[in-house]
């Protein structure tokens, strides 16, 4: 029961969601809609579960006075303020939207902006043309970078009445080699996803169920 039950449920639900694509049958379509709704509720609960485990994790750090437990207090405090504000004053006014607008948003945006600095230092320290492939990567990168900004678009030459600039070259790199590369990868990964999905439905792939499945 502990093992065949979930796998059987998975097979039935998986086949239903697969078949619905090919039949206009009203009953199957209705159940397809149900499964989509149920799936969203389950995902919502799972996400809440994730946050609970974060709370437990930081709670343990505080209890064990592990290193940096002071910072765990800050995390638990931030979490509690948001939940209390959200429940009492709702999502639309009071501290909840204010904290999102002036605490969470700027910090999340700034953390991402740090990457501009990391990319710069990586460009200087890590991006070496060690081999032909790495060299091609850098040349394509430089062409695209220069060709996509106003300054770079002005560098070029006139041939006949058309002006060929770095932008034309960068458009070509994006529309031909880059397109072929992304398409080649996409086809391969698409096959991989399909194979994994089939294995899950047929119960061959059970690792996601954990020990003893």
């Amino acid at each position: 029961m502990k093992r065949t039950g979930p796998v059987l449920l998975g097979f039935l639900v998986g086949m239903l969601m697969l078949i619905q694509y090919f039949t206009p049958n009203r009953w199957i379509e209705a159940r397809y809609n149900n499964v989509l709704d149920w799936k969203q509720v389950v995902f919502g609960v799972t996400l809440i579960l994730g946050v609970l485990s974060l709370l437990l994790h930081h709670g343990r750090l505080i209890r064990r006075r592990a290193s940096g437990w002071g910072y765990s207090w800050v995390t638990v405090a931030g979490l509690s303020v948001m939940i209390v504000a959200g429940v009492l004053r709702g999502k639309e006014h009071g501290p909840y939207p204010w904290m999102f607008e002036y605490v969470q948003s700027p910090m999340q945006a700034t953390l991402f902006a740090l990457l501009a600095f990391y990319v710069a230092s990586a460009s200087y320290r890590a991006f070496r043309a060690r081999s032909l492939p790495a060299g091609l990567l850098l040349i394509a990168g430089v062409i695209v970078m220069l060709g996509r900004v106003p300054l770079g678009e002005m560098i070029g030459f006139h041939a006949g009445e058309r002006f060929y600039s770095l932008a034309t070259l960068s458009d070509w790199v994006l529309a031909v080699p880059n397109l072929a590369a992304k398409r080649g990868i996409m086809i391969g990964v698409g096959l991989g996803m399909t194979a994994t999905a089939i294995k899950i439905i047929l119960g061959i792939e059970r690792t996601y169920l954990g020990k003893g499945a």
């Binding site: 996400l47 939207p97 945006a109």
Partner: protein
């Protein structure tokens, strides 16, 4: 005993990271203080994006999905604002949603700003459905019934009562799906909304995502695309209202040239070191 000749390029490769950081900060800050207003060339993908928006008849309802969080708002806010200004300016109505919990705050801020500018009223000219967990199920559920996917809007009002959504419940009744997306959401819209329901989709993307979806542009699975802050600047010029996209282009230009300089210097130092090492091993 390191040969003396290698001293200066040894230094090249041992520059402290923080010196590089200061150079980047300067390259970005200076043009913001002293604008250069360089000309902006419009790409084909941005023209296609604009053409698709122009093709929607006034009064029709388009679906605008804010598929991003605060971390990429610098690149994508200018796009969503420009799309709303373009739509409201042409009398096109908008039903908005988001597939990220972090997108709700962003969507509310931009919808409020654009609606106030154009004097549009909630419920008739535009509506905001809010966030639904599990984007693939949401995109498919909208194909069956928009009101089924979102029983209530973001503010708890049942979607059956919204005047905007009368006669609008499936992709067939939505002339255009516009996704402003950070990670692979534009690709998922193509797979889930385009796959079974043949929705017509245009996407405004972060630069990093834009480069991944050229295959979908070529096959027509995506009808138009904006790529990064440059895409936002191009669309702002096409819509005729310059915004943060255009204002950022000078800094973008200068910073790119700086990064290219870093790559060249880094590799120069590397090549010199390799030649010195090669000469040492031969000695």
């Amino acid at each position: 005993m390191a040969p003396t000749g290698s001293a200066w390029h040894e230094g090249l490769s041992r520059v402290d990271r923080r010196v590089l950081f200061l150079a980047v900060a300067a390259a970005v800050a200076l043009p913001l203080l002293f604008p250069l207003n360089l000309p902006i060339r419009i790409s084909q993908e941005a023209r296609a994006f604009h053409r698709e928006m122009e093709g929607v008849a006034p009064g029709r309802v388009i679906l605008l999905s804010f598929d991003y969080e605060p971390d990429t708002m610098a690149e994508l806010d200018p796009m969503s604002l420009a799309v709303l200004r373009h739509a409201f300016g042409r009398g096109v109505r908008v039903v908005a949603m988001t597939t990220y919990a972090g997108g709700v705050g962003i969507a509310e801020r931009i919808l409020a700003q654009a609606a106030a500018e154009a004097g549009k009223s909630y419920g008739t000219d535009y509506a905001f459905l809010g966030y639904n967990p599990d984007y693939s199920a949401t995109m498919l559920r909208i194909g069956e019934s928009l009101r089924g996917a979102y029983p209530t809007d973001n503010y708890g009002r049942p979607t059956d009562e919204l005047p905007l959504l009368q006669g609008v419940d499936r992709y067939a009744e939505i002339p255009l799906v516009v996704t402003i997306s950070a990670s692979a959401l534009s690709e998922y819209w193509v797979i889930w909304a385009g796959g079974k329901y043949h929705a017509r989709i245009i996407a405004g993307n972060t630069a990093i995502q834009a480069v991944l979806i050229y295959p979908f542009l070529q096959t027509g699975q995506l009808a138009g695309m904006l790529g990064g802050l440059k895409g936002a600047a191009e669309y702002e010029r096409l819509v005729g209202r310059d915004g943060a996209g255009v204002r950022g282009m000078d800094a973008q230009s200068l910073a790119h040239f700086l990064i290219v300089l870093f790559i060249l210097l880094g590799n120069l130092g590397y090549l010199l070191q390799r030649r010195v090492r090669a000469r040492e091993t031969r000695v």
